[in-house]
Amino acid sequence: MTGAELSSIALAPLIAALMIAATPIMLAAIGELVVEKSGVLNLGVEGMMITGAVCGFVFAVQTSNPYLAMLGAAAGAAVLALVFALLTQVLMANQVASGLALTLFGLGLSALIGQGYVGIQPPRTPKLDIPVLSDLPFLGRAVFSHDYMVYLSLALVGAVWYFLKYTRAGLILRAVGENHDAAHALGYRVRRVRILAIAFGGACAGLGGAYLSLIRVPQWTEGMTAGAGWIALALVVFASWRPWRVVLGAYLFGGILVLQLTLQVVGVRIPVEYLAMSPYLITILVLVIMSSGRARASLAAPGSLNRPFFASG
């Protein structure tokens, strides 16, 4: 591509679009990160996201309150996540199979719930007008004139980071994910910790989904998450289970999503499919590097991830 083509892309709106594109996957990914840190692999992120999207939409239309709608979305997706928790933690079903089933179930359920809501406009979520900051030249437009969810998602990442690193509950969660037998031997409730983590992950995925249906798009269409849940899953691995890298990865993957649209507009001759593939390609690369033992440890994959826990004795 030439310099002239690039310079025709205005940077400030691009960054603004990037932050908005990154928010849903960041929300879903930070939730999944907590789930995986507790040693559970929930592949149902896509299904929980779309359930959150439709629940949020229904709540928004019924209550006309965009804030209540977000809570509804979180609750709806958390309930779906608890189905997964019931299957994997109580009935000891296989996590991978249950997660995939959850995605398929969520896609179908959301289509059913959303039947009467196609083509309706949800109440608008206002953009924040932060004094001074929003009026900054460039930065004001790029970074400081978004809706509250953009900032909330960043705050959530910070909170998760603090929780995991500095609190005792966070330490117990990491311990459960690292070695559930040892945690059990010390008297920690492995199952309870995991069920709570799964519910939290569901709520976060629900928020991410509702962000799509209420703010980014904003409309309800069937299957509207279009793979965002899978990107969020890939993002957790890409971030090697570290919260701040989730932000980095979300902006990178979000940037790719935005860029592929922008590049089409300005007529760059790279097939967009390559860009659409790239988050997954990057994740596959990370996974390949990870599969060697030493790198696995250095990437800090939770030791008990995806291993079923049977309490003994």
């Binding site: 330490l171 117990i172 990491r174 070695n179 040892a182 945690a183 031997a185 440890a297 800090a300 030791g303």
Partner: protein, 508 residues
């Protein structure tokens, strides 16, 4: 010693489906006493201490702590009462640092900085230096155990339970541990010490309670008994000493020449210029501390790791380039150390597991089809001949206890009448009578003209049944020497002298 027991157990009983783990067990632990709990695998030691530590509730029976009723329903209650436990399989988290690991074992840990300071202080006081900031995954086995001990000590326990603490330690580390335990005892802590290393118990403990099949056999003073008497109390019968009646010929069946092989494993040991010759009818013992190339040597012999054609010769034929099945066909069989997942597929039945290595020599497969009746017959024969305790050959390997599965795995190979059998740690984790049976079976094989390569970290075992001994050290194999007349000192030197080497039971 005072008369009031610190902890008294009365009639403790715990049954699991199909097995009574503890049957009416009663004994007292007094303050300032190192009390040994002795028994074979499966005698019920672990269940008993789990009840004391609140991990398992007894079906019946009571416990009293300083005369007060004591019935912990979780480990936190037990810790508050004053019971600390150091686990056999470390209950540590590799990816967390020392201070985090210790905080997880405490009910109300102080803030990080203060905790780090007390870790340093306590660990220095007891001669167990520890750096609170290091990742546990990077520590040696001895250092990991220190983490567990310090974690207990920070809570000032009145009773410290130690489950097989020395099985992973070097002799130097054992000495340090014993000094620490004696110091603790002198300060007033009672210690419940679980082990099956009898000499250790006689050196350290004041009282011993012996369990057999869930029942208490006796409480005695271990210093008044010989190791043999204690062993017989544990086993309940006179121990059968394997009989050796071998006359190794000069006929060489297997020869390894200058084999150098990189390990397939990331943290493995490279075999360097290994040579030896194995004669018909002999047992060649290969000793050494774990991680010096034992697994790699087994892989090179079994065919899992291939080498140059001429590096390994079997009956004069080059076999270095052949895979396991081709080697099996020629009569070179192997039984690796890891029973579940390497020697046996955990979720497959014993019949299927028998088929996996015996298909060729026992003709269990014809024209690509499995002859199931024949395979089952072979599995049943192994079960009967080696006294494997299991309902039948349809049971999955995972369901067998470690000792029983080991008997099955070794028996499966011996029943194929190999020319050469390579075994790695054949009696690891197996109770005394089963171990004796396995050793006898190996000797019987040599009497019938087979030859055995015995890789083991148990020097007593090697001295008992091997004709020659060679030391494996950092991937290099020393020159084999006849075991007859070899002293433990000489073996220690062969293993690389003092240093950090584990001279297994030699120090006892």
């Amino acid at each position: 010693m005072s008369d009031q027991p610190l902890l008294s157990l009365k009639g403790l009983t715990k049954a699991y489906p199909g097995v009574v783990a503890n049957d009416d067990v009663s004994f007292d632990i007094r303050p300032r006493e190192v009390h040994a709990l002795l028994g074979e695998n499966g005698a019920g030691k672990s269940t008993l201490v789990k009840m004391i530590y609140g991990l398992v509730r007894p079906d019946s029976g009571i416990m009293a702590w300083n005369g007060q009723p004591y019935a912990p329903d979780n480990p936190a209650t037990a810790r508050q009462t004053g019971v600390g436990m150091v686990f056999q399989h470390f209950s540590l988290f590799d990816a967390l640092d020392v201070a985090e690991n210790i905080a997880l074992g405490m009910d109300d840990p102080p803030p990080r900085r203060q905790l780090s300071r007390s870790i340093r202080e306590v660990s220095q006081d007891y001669g167990l230096p520890l750096d609170p900031g290091r990742l546990v995954g990077e520590l040696s086995a001895g250092e990991r155990q220190r983490v567990e001990i310090v974690r207990c000590l920070l809570q000032n326990p009145r009773l410290l339970i130690m489950d097989e603490p020395t099985s992973v330690l070097t002799p130097q580390e054992v000495d340090i541990l014993f000094a620490t335990l004696r110091k603790l005892r002198d300060e007033g802590t009672a210690i419940l010490y679980i082990s099956h290393k009898l000499e250790e118990i006689r050196a350290l403990c004041d009282t011993a309670t012996v369990l057999r099949q869930g029942q208490k056999v006796a409480t005695c003073d271990p210093r008044q008994k010989s190791a043999r008497e204690l062993a017989e109390m544990m086993v309940g019968k006179t121990l059968h000493q394997p009989e050796r009646d071998t006359s190794a010929s000069d006929d060489i069946v297997l020869e390894m020449r200058n084999l150098t092989l990189r390990s397939a494993h990331l943290f493995g040991t490279t075999l360097k210029d290994v040579s030896f010759a194995l004669r018909r009818g002999e047992v060649l013992g290969i000793g050494g501390v774990a991680g010096n190339g034992q697994d790699e040597l087994l892989a090179a012999l079994s065919g899992e790791a291939r080498s140059k054609r001429d590096a390994l010769r079997m009956l004069g034929e080059p076999v270095g380039h052949l895979g396991p099945n081709a080697r099996r066909a020629m009569g070179l069989l192997a039984a690796p150390e890891e029973r579940l997942g390497h020697a046996a597929a955990p979720d497959m039945s014993l019949t299927e597991n028998a088929l996996l290595t015996a298909a060729w020599r026992q003709k269990l497969v014809r024209n690509g089809f499995v002859n199931w009746p024949r395979a089952q017959g072979f599995a049943e024969a192994v079960i009967t001949r080696f006294d494997v305790r299991t309902p039948g050959p349809h049971v999955v390997a995972r369901a067998l206890s470690g000792g029983n599965l080991q008997k099955f795995v070794i028996g499966r190979e011996i029943s194929q009448e190999p020319e050469v059998l390579v075994v790695n740690q054949p009696t690891w984790g197996v109770d005394a009578s089963a171990a004796a049976a396995i050793r006898q079976a190996l000797l019987d094989l040599t009497a019938r003209g087979g030859a055995v390569v015995l890789i083991s970290q148990d020097l007593d075992e090697i001295m008992e049944i091997a004709d020659r001994f060679a030391a494996l050290n950092e991937g290099r194999l020393g020159t084999p020497r006849p075991t007859r007349g070899l002293t433990m000192e000489e073996i220690g030197l062969m293993l690389g002298g003092a240093g950090d080497m584990e001279v297994a039971h030699a120090q006892a």
